[in-house]
């Protein structure tokens, strides 16, 4: 294990930024989000829940996909994709365990055949440096999904404790990044890290949502859960605003749209939400006409449909963003409590 003195972190950021794009939680106008590091940036590594999750790095909120030039009856398609690995690799720094797991969830969608090359190009060009949590918040429940917040994976895992950032490379990409910054590192820290992990684990175990029971959310119960009468009441207050889907690190839905410009048509994709009424609208009807159905879709997808397609991996990582952000105080915790706690009947 290596360690870097906290007062030298700016040197570390500067060193990485010489050759790579460094994305790191930065406080800007009172909101912390992953942004490109610049000298003077107010880095806030310890912020657990950035407003937007780091999925934005690989699956941006909007992204141009191609251009079309039309002349008379003819169409020319212009590929606007970039090879980020060739152009400029990235480092995504300070990712928490839940958000790292969420990237794994998205990988299974976007890297499945046929591979989404837009996502893949960014993903492959990125070295991910995770940061272990030492001060979990009350809305956190990553442990319910088997995530260890005290030792996230990633190309490099780091721990912040006392005067040092502790650093452990896990992959080839991680080793390469370590080689770049050796001048700033010293050996040591195993004991400090082990101690921090012990202390944090005790905190995690006693969080308010730590004991949520997922055992009823299995493919066998798919139709029973779908038919549950509780959905009506649970979804009654939902505004269909889509906030929960936009802040969620695992929500994958997107729209593809065309935009006319002076230089031709740009086809882009943007985040979409299953909470919106026109999401499933067709010329001859709509397969989900009520907000109850849309609400149910979001949670059934996370807790039953996705796991059923992906060997039991849930598509919620317990980051708690939807718990904090829903204007109506609806969230996945309430759903799990309402539908999950009925194992005995």
């Amino acid at each position: 294990m290596l360690k870097i003195a906290k007062e030298r972190l700016n040197e570390l950021y500067a060193k990485i930024s010489e050759t790579m794009g460094l994305f790191i939680p930065v406080n800007y106008a009172g909101e912390v989000n992953y942004k490109v590091w610049k000298e003077g940036a107010e880095v806030s590594l310890e912020t657990l829940k950035t407003v937007k999750s780091p999925k934005n790095m690989f699956f941006p909120q909007t992204e141009n996909m191609m251009k079309f030039k039309t002349e008379g009856k003819n169409i020319e398609i212009i590929d606007v994709r970039k090879d980020y690995k060739e152009e400029k690799p990235f480092v995504l720094f300070g990712v928490k365990a839940c958000d790292y797991k969420a990237i794994e969830v998205l990988d299974k969608v976007f890297l499945a055949e046929p591979v989404d090359t837009y996502y893949q190009s960014r993903r492959e060009a990125t070295t991910i440096v995770t940061l272990a949590c030492s001060k979990p918040e009350e809305s956190c429940f990553c442990g319910v999904f088997g995530i260890d917040a005290t030792a996230p994976q990633g190309d490099v895992t780091t721990w912040l404790d006392g005067e040092y950032l502790y650093w452990q490379a896990n992959t080839e990409k991680g080793e390469a990044l370590t080689a770049l910054i050796t001048a700033l590192t010293e050996e040591g820290g195993e004991e400090t890290v082990a101690g921090q992990r012990e202390t944090t684990k005790a905190v995690l175990e006693n969080l308010p949502f730590a004991k949520l029971d997922l055992s009823r959310f299995t493919p066998e119960n798919l139709n029973d859960l779908f038919e549950a009468k509780e959905w009506e009441e649970m979804s009654e207050a939902c505004l269909g605003c889509g906030t929960c889907t936009f802040v969620c690190p695992t929500c994958q839905c997107f729209d593809i749209r065309d935009f006319k410009t002076n230089e031709g048509v740009i086809r882009y994709r943007c985040w979409d939400s299953c909470m919106y009424s026109d999401f499933t609208l067709m010329a001859h009807g709509n397969s989900r006409t009520t907000q109850m159905q849309r609400f149910r879709q979001r949670f059934m997808h996370k807790l039953v449909y996705y796991p059923s397609q992906n060997d039991g991996l849930y598509s919620c990582v317990g980051c708690g963003r939807c718990v904090n952000k829903c204007p109506q105080r609806l969230n996945i915790v309430k759903v799990v409590k309402t539908l999950g706690g009925k194992k005995d009947d």
Partner: protein, 275 residues
């Protein structure tokens, strides 16, 4: 850079047929004059008009046609209206093929086949029927029941009346919803016609058409003694990507674009009722 399925190919419209007041069939080839890509019966493609939008359509021509692809398109909204206004020579974009095909090389082989279509539902079926005609010796008896609102709404009626009816070991039954001048064929809805025909329940059946027709026809077939595991249909949900990523067409643990659009009735029974 490697291929990206979401980036389409340019296609050229080489022929347009007006089938019914609101359905036209478009023949499409690549800019090199060749077929854009290979497909299997029941698969679909995303067709787009840049600046207007992209829509999913069944590839209605048979895979055995080596020269071109055809789409039968019903005018019902922004994109389909613009396509209907197009002339021969106009370029569009196409990507695909998407979805699972009918099991023509597996479960259908050696079987007696019953095809039941309503309205534009003929589009996916035409591809299978012509495939079966091409490899006729691999399949048993073929029975086709096709209905539409009126005689003018029967898609591809010329091909049906001049070619399909003359195939060996093939029966074709046409019906329209209401009596009409110049029509001396059967009158009545598809589901009741199917029951009247007293079809052999050992056939493998394929149903395509509006959801309401599928529902009642299936009921009729079950009453006749058909087994759900040998009845197939296609689903139609809103689609954007076509490859199981954008989330649009999700029902239960399936994505219709990738796990369908062809489903066996027994598979549909396991899905939540949301399609």
């Amino acid at each position: 850079m490697i291929d990206e399925t979401l980036i389409p190919k340019v296609g050229v419209i080489t022929d347009i047929r007006k089938d019914t007041p609101d359905v036209k069939t478009f023949r499409v080839v690549g800019t090199d004059g060749k077929k854009l890509f290979q497909h299997m019966p029941g698969q679909c493609a995303m067709v787009s008009v840049p600046g207007v939008g992209e829509c999913m359509f069944s590839i209605t021509s048979s895979p055995t046609n080596e020269e071109y692809m055809e789409f039968s398109i019903k005018k019902c909204g922004c994109v389909t209206e613009v396509i209907h206004a197009m002339e021969v020579g106009q370029q569009i974009t196409v990507r695909g093929p998407y979805g699972k095909n009918f099991p023509v090389e597996e479960d259908f082989k050696g079987k007696d086949l019953l095809f039941i279509a309503g309205g534009i539902g003929l589009a996916p079926l035409r591809s299978v029927i012509n495939y079966v005609r091409h490899y006729r010796e691999n399949y048993g008896k073929v029975v086709i029941v096709y209905g539409a609102r009126s005689k003018d709404d029967l898609v591809d009626i010329e091909e049906i009346q001049t070619e399909w009816v003359n195939e060996p070991n093939t029966e074709v039954y046409l019906t329209i919803d209401r009596p009409q001048e110049g029509w001396d064929g059967h009158v009545g809805f598809v589901p009741s016609y199917v029951k009247e025909l007293g079809l052999d329940p050992n056939m493998t059946a394929v149903l395509c058409g509006p959801p309401i027709m599928i529902k009642f026809t299936l009921q009729g077939l079950l009453e006749l003694g058909f087994d759900k595991s040998r009845v197939y249909t296609t689903l139609e949900l809103r689609m954007k990507c076509g490859v199981g990523k954008c989330g649009r067409c999700n029902v239960g643990d399936k994505f219709v674009c990738k796990d369908g659009p062809v489903f066996r009735m027994t598979e549909l029974d396991e899905l939540p009722d949301e399609y």
